[in-house]
Homo-oligomer: 673 residues x 2
C-alpha cells in the first residue's frame, strides 16, 4: 500500500484514522499482549462510520435511540477502545488505554459490555457479535413498531472478521436477518484474507458475497481504505430494503512490517517496527500522544449527535406518560407492578386436583398470564413451538409484515436464537425468552455462557428435561445439562415441580435485571405437589420444606422437578414403616445458596440421612446439599443417572435406571443401617 | 401427487419404495411415536441409491471399503431401519422393526451406531450427520492416499433435511467440504419445505443452491420422486470433482392425508388415514407384511455387493503383510506395540530440572514422539495451531494436493472440527485429535457429547485451560468447562500437571477404543513435579500419591494440572509448621473412580482434612473426593473459582482469585481448627 498516497488524498481522514492505529500500537506494546492488526486494518472504515454516519452522543452513551456499533471481531478491542476514548467517552480515559489488559482496567482483553459504557456487547468468542446484532436489529424493529419512528429509528452496525463468518452461528444469523428483511442491519466484513494459521484459503474458499446474497442480503464490495468508497457504501446500505454486508478489502496491520501476514493478527510489540510504522503513517508523536487538533476533531464527532439527542428527548417527551413509563420501565428491566399480583392470583387458582400437567404446559399457562401485562416480552422457539409451549395466545408472529409480532419462529437454530435473544436484551426495551429441548443446551451454550457473563436476563425455556421424554432416546435426553448450567456462574437454573413452582420460577426470571434463567421443564405430566403456602414465592428461597416429617425426622429427601413426586411417594412409604421423612423441594440451587446460613440449616439440619433425587447426574451440584460444604454433615445418597439414557417409554426408563420410589426407600434404609 | 402415475411409470421401483413407506407407517403406529413424513418423502431417493449406487454387502456391514450412508436427518430413523431390514442386515430383524422405540430394541428413536451394524453414526441432533460426513470423506481420501485406490475407494452419501441445513454447523461442514474438494461426498437435501413450526420460509428463505455453490459445491436440482432423475443425478455427482449436493424436491409424508404439512413431520398414527395411504400406494398387505417378491428384490440389492466385496478381499490380500496389519490395527483402534515403550522412554528422558514448560508444549513434545509411530493419527486445530501446539514436525498439511497430509487446518470452526473428527473415527482407520481453547468447548459441545455417546476415541486438545491464560480475559477463561466434560458420561478428562503426566494422558487417550478424551492443558509454564516413579503410567489410576506427608499425616491436598505446583509448595509451607501433608495429583477423576475401593482409600484415607485445588468451579466433580461419596469421610475445603475470571496477567489473577499457596495453607489450618 502506498500510505503516502492515502495520506495526501485525504489528510483529515488520515490523521483521525492514524490516531486509532497509533493508540493500538502503543497500548499493545505497553501490555505486551493483544491483537494489533485488525484495528489497524479497519481504522478507515471505523473512522468514516463514526464521522459521517453513526448516530451517537459520546456524552450520553446509553441514549436509547443511538445507532448501535458492535465489534464482532472482539479481539480487535483496541479499535473500540480507541474510538471511545477519542470521541470523549467518559469511561475510556487515556489512563484506561494505557492500562489496556491490566488488572481492574475497563479496557479488558476483549470488549466487555459491563465494564464500560459504549460497549454494546461482550465479544471475543467469534460469531457472537454478528448474531447478537440480529437481535439488536429485531428489537429496533419491534420497538419502532410499538413507539413510532420519531422515538425509535436507528441502525445496527457490525464489524465482523473472517473468524465470525467461518463460525457456523454466523449462518444462522445471516439466514435470520435475510428472512426478516432487517434492513437497518449493516455488517462490515473485514476482508483481510488472514487468520492465525495463515491465509483464509488454507481453510475456506467460500465466496462470501454469493453466500450473503443467497440469504437475501444486499452486498457491496469496496476498498476498505478508501474513505469515499466507504462513505458511499454506507449511504447505499442505509437505503436498502435488505440487510447489508459491505465487503471491505483491507490490509491487516496496515503499514507495519507484518502487514498482510498472520503475524500481523497478533501483538506487534517490536519497538523498531512500531516506530517504522508510525513513521510510514507520518505520525511523529510520542507513545499515547494525540495532537490536540486530531483529538479535537474526534471530539467534534463525539458531540455531533448532541443536537439529535436533544431533539429526540423532545419527541420522546411528546409520548403519553403511560408510553414513556412503559418504555423506561422496559429499558430498566423492571417488571410491571401488577406482575406479582397476577402471579399470586394464578397460583391461588391452581387446583391441586387438576389432572397431571407437564411443567412445559404449566409454563404456557403462566405465559398466558404474563405476556398480556408485560409488553416487553418477546418469545420464540427453535422450531419446537408446540413442544416447548412457548407461544401464548396473544403474541402475533414477528415478520416483515408484522413488526409488532412478539413471537419469533427462530428455525432450527438454537445457537442463533440464544445469541439474538442476548442481542435483544442488550438493545434494551425487550425481555426475550426462547425454547428448545434441554439437551440442545449444547448448541446454545456459547451464547448462554455469554448471557451470564454479560449479566443480562435472557430466559432459556428448556423442555423435555430428562429421560422422562421417553422414546426419542439418549441423543435427546439431557443427563448432564443441569450440571452444565449450574456450573456456570451467574445463572439461575429452575427445575420446578409443578404449576405453582413454574409460575414462581417465571416470576423470578422476569424480575431480575442481571441474571439469565434456565427453566428446566418436563415433557411428562406431573401432579400438583405444592398444595399449601401458595401466596409467598418459595422458589425465591431456592429450596424449602414441602412436607414435614411425621414423628421423629430420620431422613430428608431432596428433589427437584419431576422427581419431587417420587420423593412425596417415598416419604409416604417410609413413614408407613415408621421412618419420619421430610421432603425438601429444591427448584433453584443458586437461590438456595444465596440464602443465609440459618435458613439453609433450618431446611437441611444436620443429623437425618439425606437422599437427593434428580433424573440427572450427581455432578449437578448435589454434593454440597447432600454432604454439607465442609463435609461430615450427614450420611447421604443420590438417586439419579450415571450414564446416558435410552429410547423407550418414559415410565420404563425410570424403572430401568432405578429412579423410583422403591429405590429411594431402599437407599434411605441402607443409609440408616 | 398422482401416486398412480408414479406407480405405473416404475412399478418395480414403486413396490420397493412403498415397502419403506409401509414399514414406516406400521412401526410408528405400533410405537405411537416417531417421525413418519421424512422416510415417506425420501423413500424414492433411498431406494434408487441403494439399488443402483450404494456399494455395500448386507452380510458384511463393516466391510471397510463400503460406501457410507449417513442419515443426517436422524428423526427419520425408520428410513434406515427399513433399508437395513429389507436388504437383510442381521441386526435389524422384523422383530426389531416391530419393537421400534421400545426398551432394549436396536431400533431406537434415533439411529444409534452402537446398537446395530449398518448405522454409521448416531444422528438426531441436527447438522451432526452432514458434519460427520465431512470427516468420513476426509478419512477416505487420507486412507486412499495411504493404501491406494484398489483398497480404499468409496463414497459417502448423506441425507440431510432443512433442519440440518439451518443449523450453523452445516455451514462449517459445507465450507470444509468445498475447500477440500471432497468429491466423493454426495449430500441429498430433502427439500420438502416443511419444518415442525410450519413451512420453511417462516424462518428461512436461503437459496440453498446458491449457498452450496458459493462454497464450491456441485449442485443438482431434481424431482425427488422421479427414479430416473435420481439415478442420473447420482451418476453425475459421482463424476464431479467437487462435493455434490442433490436438491431433491419431495413431498413429506407422500400419499398420506398429512402430506406437505407440519403434521406430516410427526407420528402419523391415525388408523384410517394409515389404511388410506396404503390404499393410495396400491399396497394391500397387512401390518409389517412385505410380499415375498418385494423382500426378495430388496435382498438382491443387499447381496449385490458381495462379489465386489470378495474381489476387494483379494486385492486387500495383495497388500504387504505390514500394510495389512497396519490397516487392521488402525481399524481396531489398537495402538502399535511400540507406543508404550516410546512413551516410557520419553518420560524417562524428562528432566526434572528442565525449565518450566506449559503442558500444551509438553503435549507437542509427546506428539513428536507419537505421530511418527502411529500413522493413523490425524491432527488439527481450529485456527490456533501455534497456541494449541497440535502440529508435530512430520505431519504435512491435508489439502487436495496433499491427501497424505495428516494435519488439518480446520479454520475457525470448533463445532465442525469436532463433528468431522467424530466422522473420521467412525469411518475407521483414523485416530483424530484436534485443538482449540478450552473455553470453546462450548462451541464443540454437541459433537463432544456425541463422541461420548457413540463410544469413539476422539481426542480434544483443549489448551489455555484456566485464568492462567491471562490477558484474554473471561470470554476466553474456562471456569466451568472441566465440570461440563466431567459431568458427561463416558468422557475422560485429563488435566496433567507436567510433561510426565501429559505423556501418560496421551498414552491413555491413544489406546482406548471407546472413550473420547479431553486434554486440559495450560498456556503457562509449569515445573516438572513427577520426578520419581516414571516407569508406570500412574495417570491410568486417575489419582496417586505424588508426595507423602513427612511425619503425622494431618492433611491431604488434592490438585490437578497447574495447581499441583501450588499444592507442592503448600505442603512445604505446612510441613514447616509441623503439619504433615500428603499431595495427591488427580489428573483424571473418571479413571480414579474406576479404581477399586481399596486403592481409592489408600490414596484418600479417612481422617486427614482434605483441600482440593483447581482453578475452576468446585462443581467439577470435587465433592465426591473431598467429602466421600456417602459423606462424613473428612472435613474438607476447596481452593478454586466461583465466578468468571478477568483480564490481567496470569499471576495477578491467581492472587486476585485467591488460588495461592497462602490461601491453601490457611484453608488447611482453618479446617484443622
Amino acid at each position: 500500500m502506498d500510505l503516502n498516497a492515502l495520506r495526501t488524498a485525504n489528510p483529515d481522514h488520515w490523521s483521525k484514522a492514524t490516531a486509532i492505529r497509533a493508540l493500538t500500537l502503543d497500548a499493545i506494546a505497553a501490555a505486551n499482549s493483544g491483537h494489533s492488526g485488525m484495528p489497524m486494518g479497519m481504522a478507515d472504515v471505523a473512522t468514516v462510520l463514526f464521522e459521517k454516519h453513526l448516530k451517537f452522543d459520546a456524552s450520553a452513551p446509553s441514549w436509547p435511540d443511538r445507532d448501535r456499533f458492535i465489534l464482532s471481531a472482539g479481539h480487535g478491542s483496541m479499535l473500540i477502545y480507541s474510538l471511545l476514548h477519542l470521541t470523549g467517552n467518559a469511561d475510556i480515559t487515556l489512563e484506561e488505554i494505557k492500562n489496556f489488559r491490566q488488572s481492574g482496567a475497563k479496557t479488558a482483553g476483549h470488549p466487555e459490555n459491563f465494564l464500560a459504557s459504549g460497549i454494546e456487547t461482550t465479544t471475543g468468542p467469534l460469531g457472537q457479535g454478528i448474531s447478537n446484532a440480529v437481535g439488536f436489529a429485531m428489537a429496533e424493529e419491534i420497538q419502532r413498531a410499538l413507539y413510532g419512528k420519531r422515538v425509535v429509528d436507528h441502525y445496527t452496525y457490525v464489524i465482523a472478521g473472517d473468524g465470525c463468518l467461518m463460525e457456523g452461528v454466523s449462518q444462522e444469523a445471516i439466514g435470520l436477518a435475510g428472512r426478516h428483511e432487517l434492513s437497518k442491519l449493516i455488517v462490515f466484513w473485514d476482508n483481510n484474507n488472514i487468520t492465525i494459521d495463515g491465509t483464509v484459503d488454507i481453510a475456506d474458499r467460500t465466496d462470501q458475497v454469493r453466500r450473503f446474497a443467497a440469504s437475501g442480503w444486499n452486498v457491496i464490495e469496496i476498498d476498505g481504505h478508501d474513505p469515499k468508497a466507504i462513505d458511499a457504501a454506507i449511504t447505499q446500505a442505509k437505503s436498502s430494503n435488505k440487510p447489508s454486508m459491505i465487503a471491505c478489502k483491507t490490509h491487516i496491520a496496515l503499514g507495519h512490517a507484518a502487514q498482510d501476514t498472520s503475524k500481523g493478527h497478533g501483538a506487534l510489540t517490536n519497538p523498531e517496527q512500531l516506530l517504522a510504522a508510525k513513521e510510514a503513517y507520518g505520525w511523529n508523536h510520542g507513545p499515547f500522544e494525540i495532537p490536540a487538533d486530531v483529538k479535537s476533531a474526534w471530539e467534534s464527532i463525539g458531540s455531533r449527535g448532541a443536537e439529535d439527542h436533544a431533539a429526540w428527548k423532545e419527541r420522546f417527551a411528546q409520548l403519553s406518560e403511560r408510553k414513556q413509563g412503559e418504555f423506561n420501565r422496559a429499558y430498566a428491566f423492571e417488571a410491571p407492578k401488577k406482575l406479582a399480583s397476577a402471579i399470586r392470583a394464578f397460583k391461588k387458582d391452581t387446583s391441586e386436583t387438576q389432572p397431571k400437567l407437564a411443567t412445559r404446559a404449566s409454563s404456557e399457562k403462566v405465559l398466558n398470564v404474563v405476556n398480556p401485562i408485560m409488553t416487553e416480552t418477546v418469545g420464540g422457539s427453535a422450531d419446537l413451538t408446540g413442544s416447548n409451549n412457548t407461544k401464548s395466545a396473544d403474541m402475533g408472529v414477528f415478520l416483515p409484515e408484522n413488526r409488532k409480532g412478539r413471537y419469533v419462529h427462530w428455525g432450527i437454530r438454537e445457537h442463533g436464537m440464544a445469541a439474538a435473544m442476548n442481542g435483544m436484551a442488550l438493545h434494551g426495551g425487550i425481555r426475550p425468552y426462547g425454547g428448545t429441548f434441554m439437551c440442545f443446551t449444547d448448541y446454545a451454550r456459547p451464547a448462554m455462557r455469554l448471557a451470564a457473563l454479560m449479566k443480562i436476563p435472557t430466559v432459556f425455556v428448556m423442555t423435555h428435561d430428562s429421560i422422562g421424554l421417553g422414546e426419542d432416546g439418549p441423543t435427546h435426553q439431557p443427563v448432564e445439562h443441569l450440571a452444565i448450567s449450574r456450573a456456570t456462574p451467574n445463572t439461575w437454573v429452575f427445575r420446578p415441580a409443578d404449576t405453582v413452582e413454574t409460575a414462581e420460577a417465571w416470576e423470578l426470571a422476569l424480575t431480575t435485571s442481571e441474571t439469565p434463567s434456565v427453566l428446566s421443564l418436563t415433557r411428562q405430566g406431573l401432579p400438583t405437589v405444592r398444595t399449601e403456602h401458595k401466596t409467598k414465592n418459595l422458589t425465591a428461597q431456592g429450596a424449602y420444606v414441602l412436607a414435614e416429617a411425621t414423628g421423629k425426622r430420620q431422613a430428608i429427601l431432596i428433589a427437584t422437578g419431576s422427581e419431587v413426586e417420587i420423593a412425596m411417594q417415598a416419604k409416604e412409604a417410609l413413614e408407613a414403616e415408621g421412618i419420619g421423612t421430610r421432603v425438601v423441594s429444591m427448584p433453584c440451587m443458586e437461590l438456595f445458596a444465596a440464602q443465609d446460613e440459618s435458613y439453609r440449616k433450618r431446611v437441611l439440619p444436620a443429623g437425618p440421612v439425606r437422599v437427593g433425587i434428580e433424573a440427572a447426574v450427581r455432578e449437578g451440584g448435589w454434593d454440597r446439599w447432600l454432604l454439607g460444604e465442609r463435609g461430615r454433615e450427614a450420611k447421604a445418597g443420590f438417586i439419579g443417572m450415571n450414564s446416558f439414557g435410552a429410547s423407550a417409554p418414559a415410565n420404563e426408563l425410570y424403572e430401568k435406571f432405578g429412579i423410583t420410589v422403591e429405590a429411594t426407600v431402599a437407599k434411605v434404609k441402607d443409609l440408616l443401617g
